[in-house]
Subunit: 333 residues, 4 copies
């Protein structure tokens, strides 16, 4: 938002000046701040990462920068703060001490958690998974990698995930997969609206227009009861070939419309009830009988062997009905 100065002090001063304007604009328009963040990847000092740099000074600079960003976010009444590990990874494992770098990243986040308390900032912390680009491999490569990291370093109670479709597909997952994984861990905090091109291997940061995609996203969000934190942010870019100001309007309007349609479609599918009912029924063998016992922890290998020796073979499987369900979705598109 603000230009880098000749040193940290001047950079912070530049930022303060911009924040003043933002605050006035917030009051004038009533627009609120979804979340704040700091750019820890564009400046050459971050060439080897920020919190995971091999250079301890870089960690210190990043810490100072995030401290300032937290203060500014707090001042602007931001509802959250996103950690986007743009260079927290490696270009080659040959020169990398992966364990030491991850320890540093955890230390950094714990410092942020501590400082948040000191500051009295009550917004939600998010981490945004991204597998690669600009680096060969980033530590926050997907939802599972982030959750694993957060669990290992006792950070799981302090950060939720901010998921983006294009980062999901770059990691080889559907967006719906990432959403379901995060939601299952009670860690789905916010979404980044950008989408990508499944046939290209870099972060195309496109505006979403597929209503299949937005309907899937909304199905998961509605299923988990809606967001209690976060929301939907656009940091998508118009294509390099779309360089006129009006393109920004087409893009944002189109993206927002796609999400609005996705929400309506998902709500209609839920109101219809057939999809939810199908899934519920599909797992009904777990609601009672041997399945119920297993879920209640009342059966072990011995009991299950006895049960199956008596029965000989399993009760018939039913079709997964993928084609039927895909048709069902199409009724609402």
């Amino acid at each position: 938002m603000a230009p880098e100065g000749k040193d940290l002090r001047e950079t912070n001063k530049n930022l303060d000046a911009v924040v003043q304007v933002l605050k006035e604009e917030q009051q004038r328009t009533g627009i609120k701040l979804l979340w704040g963040t700091a750019c820890l990847f564009a400046h050459p000092r971050y060439v080897h990462g920020a919190a995971t740099s091999c250079n301890a000074d870089v960690f210190a600079y990043a810490a100072a920068q995030v401290k300032k960003a937290l203060e500014v976010t707090h001042e602007l009444n931001g509802e959250g703060y996103v950690f986007w590990g743009g260079r927290e990874g490696y270009s080659t494992l040959l020169n990398t001490n992966l364990k030491r770098e991850m320890d540093h990243l955890a230390a950094f986040l714990h410092m942020a958690v501590d400082y948040k308390k000191k500051l009295g900032f009550e917004g939600q912390f998010y981490i945004e998974p991204k597998p690669k680009e600009p680096t060969k491999h980033q530590y926050d490569s997907d939802a599972a990698a982030c959750l694993n990291f957060l669990r290992e370093y006792d950070l799981i109670d302090h950060l939720k995930l901010n998921l983006e479709t294009n980062h999901a597909t770059l990691a080889g997952h559907t967006m719906q997969h990432e959403l379901e994984v995060a939601a299952a861990a009670n860690a789905l905090g916010s979404i980044d609206a950008n989408t990508g091109d499944e046939l290209l291997g870099w972060d195309t940061d496109q505006f979403p227009t597929s209503v299949y995609l937005t309907a899937q996203i909304m199905l998961t969000i509605l299923k988990m009861g809606g967001f209690t934190t976060g929301g939907t942010n656009f940091d998508a870019k118009v294509r390099r070939e779309s360089f006129e100001p009006i393109d920004l309007f087409y893009a944002h309007i189109g993206g927002m419309d796609a999400f609005a349609r996705g929400l309506k479609i998902a709500a209609a599918i839920r109101k219809d009830g057939r999809l939810t009912e199908f899934v519920k029924k599909r797992y009904s063998s777990w609601d009672s009988g041997i399945g119920g016992k297993i879920e209640k922890g009342k059966a072990g290998f011995k009991e299950l062997e006895a049960y199956m020796l008596k029965k000989g073979e399993v009760a018939a499987n039913l079709s997964g009905r993928q084609e039927f369900l895909e048709n069902l979705i199409n009724e609402f598109i």
Copy 2:
């Protein structure tokens, strides 16, 4: 190993007959059993998964089958047991309750841990990550996903990872990445020697012949002090076009030779010392000064900001020397 019978009882009987022969052959040849496993993916009953099937009966059958496999592995003095989640995933999220399926998988593994104790089997349990094929997505998709799952369900002390190159690349990672992730979590237990084709998207299960690959694998294994459990197993297949018995010999000899060369290369690189020294030196800013303070937990955002306000900008970054290091490796190939 043994044909399925008309029901579980007969299947178990068939297995007992084969195990008797295996035991005699073990005594005759002195060959030991690295690990046992059960096939919970080929039979149509496992079409929707085994421990993660929507059909509770299938879970029960799988439990009985693993119980028997554990007993047999114990009887044959197996040094471990591998869980390979061949169908523990989904074909479409439309019909899937991901959270409930993962809860079931965890329950299954806890039952296995319990039964292992009852049995007195002291071998190591392993889980083998694989992202997809035959399903669209498997829960054990990569090392991080497995570790996340094991941590979430308090299984992290009971299972280590058995890693395969082809499964790593199908998940979009290098084998070295997966090894380093597992080793950093103290969870690298064993490796599956199969490799794949980085330009193909299915599990080609090829024999490894690249000495770059085997040297990288051995570098990580030597760095962690060698295996204390597990080893290197081949379940690679000769190509469909390599259908003569002699092809099996070419393949196994070539694969084993590649690992032997990889071990020699890795040992030579470590003896040479330049690689280890380079990495050590690269992180030297963390051994003392501000880096040392951070690692000891003696600095927070406030101290780091003060440090950097005073300093203004970071100490110069050094080149990552990727090209130099790649050349260095080539000296040993």
Copy 3:
């Protein structure tokens, strides 16, 4: 369609018996045959390919089989014949004489062209691109590779392309790209309705349900004036988990509905006219002036340099309006 016999003669006899029934069923129902083909990839004799086998006998067998298939197709009044090079490629280039194999493939197709004339069969010949699976690499890997082959061996007047979405995406192209490439060469002959999963690397052969996809397909087909040969065939499969007979109905009905909706959407977009008009206008600098001269062949490097030295810099570029156009499509979904 018919089981293999103990030798070619018996296999042909088996086929004759089945063809008799098919003929009667055609007369009874009025259903016509879109195209015929022969399976030159499933039997172990084709392990190294059919027309591109290193074993000349295999070429001879394949020739006999295609001869019979052409006769049968002719007898059933088939409107075309598809060559699907299921194994016409290689597993490793180490053992492969690529040039010799491609020469053989061309010889094979020329024999087919000759025999078609002898037979008086006037249906269209098609070749179906597919990049890989089961082999590592197939010669007919995409539309451009097929066209290049057909041009090199003087077959371009005798075969058109039969395109499939999943084969397009396995080759790294969108289906629309493949359609446009084929149509630009006047070689788009027919389409295979199967679609795939862009995140999986094997031929999933799914039924199409995305109306974005089917609308794109129909836009190209309508733009070229509709098919004069061929049509839309399904050789999609229900998923392994969709094993009940009713799944076949859900799948075919859903796929056909998706194409019907795609056709309606494409027709509406064309009737609306904005998309066509946008593209026409975008290239309007080529309709007259310097562009017109270039297209008429009336300018060379010298004239163009003189023109530009005088002008100094190009007339302003206009935005490509990708986001606007994506929104426009969404108006019709």
Copy 4:
């Protein structure tokens, strides 16, 4: 090489000044020019392509620029000229007239061929395939696509291919595949030494260090009798993290050494003779008998059916020996 001026005239003048220095340096050092080229992709005027721009003026500017580049290349005694279609493609097919753009590209190349004659420049023309990045899809996407284009527009006698490993893998092919396809068409003219990362989806432009790769490249080049035009050029880049001048030396020396080792390995494999002999023998059924007849054009479907009806089934297939051959290569690494 030279900065853009305020218009074409000044830009050309800037270039002339630099060329003068280059010429003197050539005379001083004896270093020759492998090939010349023009940058038709970095300046914003080329946002929609150069020869394939929707803006005819851009075509004219590109023509003037290539005219000048040809003159300069001729003046510097360049041995060839490379067309690198950095933006000759599309970002979205929605706004693209693919056929018209390809017609323009062909017109452009024909103008270049004409001007080359006028100029008396006798160097070889090359086209360098690249599938994508920065655009979504480029027309010169791989060797087959280039050859198809050159054949369609009667340019096949005027351009050869300049192949790069990373462009091959981005297109889903091995470098060896691209080399073999080009060599089979007698169109392999030169190679670009850059390699990439098979797990990343963008043009990483790395220096080659795998001796497996360089040995494969040299095997094909030696098999075709060596280059009669062209050579091996580096336009690889050091990694962003390798920013010290010495990294350039490590990189170029390492890359050149890798090619030198590859050449020695390939020469040794050829001298050994087993690989060549294996492939020759594998196709021996084509040297006489029914195979010989087919190759001589003395058999059609009828004769082959008669032959096979008599024989009943094919002569036994032999193993493709992939594993044996991979081991054989390893003997020379």
